[in-house]
């Protein structure tokens, strides 16, 4: 789907991705928020389908109420007016590791069909072609959050058959094994891209196309990933953002269009 095509529909790709992700947060409580799109997703969900959603930031903020769009995960606007600010030790130990985080967002430079994520290197670790940021909190977030949502653009370089480094573990492909790993997390539960939305099949642990975005074809999806995708039997179309969702995004959440244009 080209940017122009999306514009024709009256909303941008980013707006569609945000709305689709936000709806998946219905009823959730404690959410580890990333910066950029995930931040807008969570704020939108709080105003629509998840009024009890608490925004938790790995920088140590619980119950943030940002008065402006935060530009980093540690923006001072996240602190002022929040419910609690704690050390990172306590945030990771008492909140995340203890299983209090219901949903977390992760980004990925590379993701495979099982939701294993690479944010460390492209190429060989000892002599990388591209040195990426590394784990940050991603490894323990993948392991300790009860659900993991991924939002990213997809393409041959990011949706790959074999990731170059497993920074954060996903599903193993063996559901019996996954159930007995003894962690809260079980690999990503949702992936939303610029082409469609995916869930993970419970038995196979494999990414499965659930909906195509308006105007996107299955062939386009296939062209933009490194393996032959599983497709849901009831493959549908991603609902467009509602008027109210678009209004909230444009007027309240990203009025400057930093992330959404």
């Amino acid at each position: 789907m080209s940017a122009e095509a999306a514009a024709d529909l009256g909303y941008s790709q980013a707006e569609l991705m945000i709305a689709a992700s936000a709806r998946q947060l219905a009823g959730e409580r404690n959410c580890f928020v990333g910066i950029g799109l995930p931040n807008i997703v969570c704020n939108l969900a709080q105003r629509t389908v998840a009024p009890d959603l608490q925004l938790v930031y790995e920088s140590g903020v619980f119950g943030a109420r940002p008065e402006r769009l935060p530009l980093s995960i540690g923006d001072p606007t996240l602190v002022s007016g929040s419910t609690a600010v704690t050390s990172m030790f306590e945030l990771f130990a008492f909140y995340l590791q203890a299983g209090l985080i219901d949903v977390a967002f992760l980004g990925a430079a590379q993701i495979d069909r099982f939701g294993n994520i690479n944010t460390t290197v492209i190429g060989d670790y000892a002599k990388p072609k591209v040195r990426l940021p590394g784990s940050g909190g991603a490894c323990e977030i993948a392991i300790n959050a009860r659900k993991v949502f991924v939002i990213m653009r997809q393409g041959q370089r990011s949706f790959v058959d074999t990731i170059h480094f497993r920074t954060s573990p996903g599903h193993s492909g063996d559901s019996e094994h996954d159930r007995n790993r003894g962690w809260w997390g079980s690999g990503p539960t949702s992936v939303v891209t610029d082409l469609g939305t995916y869930f993970f099949d419970e038995e196979a642990g494999e990414m499965t196309l659930a909906t195509l975005h308006p105007g996107v074809t299955l062939d386009q999806v296939r062209e933009n990933m490194g393996w032959e995708p599983r497709v849901a039997a009831d493959l549908g179309e991603t609902p467009s953002p509602s008027e109210e969702e678009l209004r909230l995004i444009r007027e309240e959440l990203d009025p400057g269009g930093v992330y959404t244009r």
């Binding site: 009024p51 119950g63 402006r68 602190v79 002022s80 419910t83 609690a84 008492f94 909140y95």
Partner: protein, 307 residues
Amino acid sequence: MSTSKVATMHDAVADLVRDGDTVAVEGFTHLICFAAGHEIIRQRRRDLTLCRMTPDVIYDQMIGAGVARKLVFSWLGNPGVGSLHAIRRRVENADPEPLEVEEYSHFGMVCRYVAGASNLPFFPIRSYYESDIPKVNPKIVPMRSPYGDGTEVYVVPPLRPDVTIVHAQRADAGGNAQIWGLLGCQKEAAFAADRVIVVCEEIVDEAVVRADPNRTVIPGIVVDAVVEEPLACHPSFVQGYYDRDNAFYLRWDEIARDAGTLDAWLKEWVYDLSSHAEYVEKMGAAYWDALKPEPAMSGQVNYGRYA
């Protein structure tokens, strides 16, 4: 947070503390919630495993009243005064029945709560070397550093109470609790528990909490009930609100020496009253006035508005 968790002490204890539970009423000398202990006595809970670093007078009262079958602790005494006689009668003479004990050092207890709060299967500490404590508590076990440096530590297991009860100076209706002064191990004990009751001197507007988020010690996310109960910590103290009633700690030494006297005290001050409010009224306003300190204000800091 939008949902209010405000409850009466009666309802909070009735709903959240069950016979057979492992219960921690924490607070190191400071913020010991006697009113919650009294309510547990009044509702005649039984077979509790009571956990506390310092079993203090509150557990002497509860154990004297027969609510517990087991005690997990690190220092057993009436601080600054002497013994806890009701507990000693049970431990030394099984009078009127035995009391199982499981003991640690202070840091061992603290680390058990940290492990419980962090979902860790064990926590390493540098204590217990050449002490007899591990000999009488097989849960304290030695472990060697995996880095080949020859260092040995001991590890303690996580403590995960069914219910933790803590007291705070103030909390909002969602249970976000702010505490200043001695912090003890309340945060760790609250995060470690399945269910949490926060009792406070004052329920305040959420805006008060949000004006100083670094002051929040326990977030509402782990709290099941918030009880507003002024003076609930007497004879313990609440920094800035009231002083320790040392005379009562001394008096308790006399009361608890004899089971009959203790029973009479429980009848008069717990069973015959329906709530802590009646206890407060029965003591009389002058009593409370005498425990109130002069103010000493913290000063303010500026968080800045980033809009």
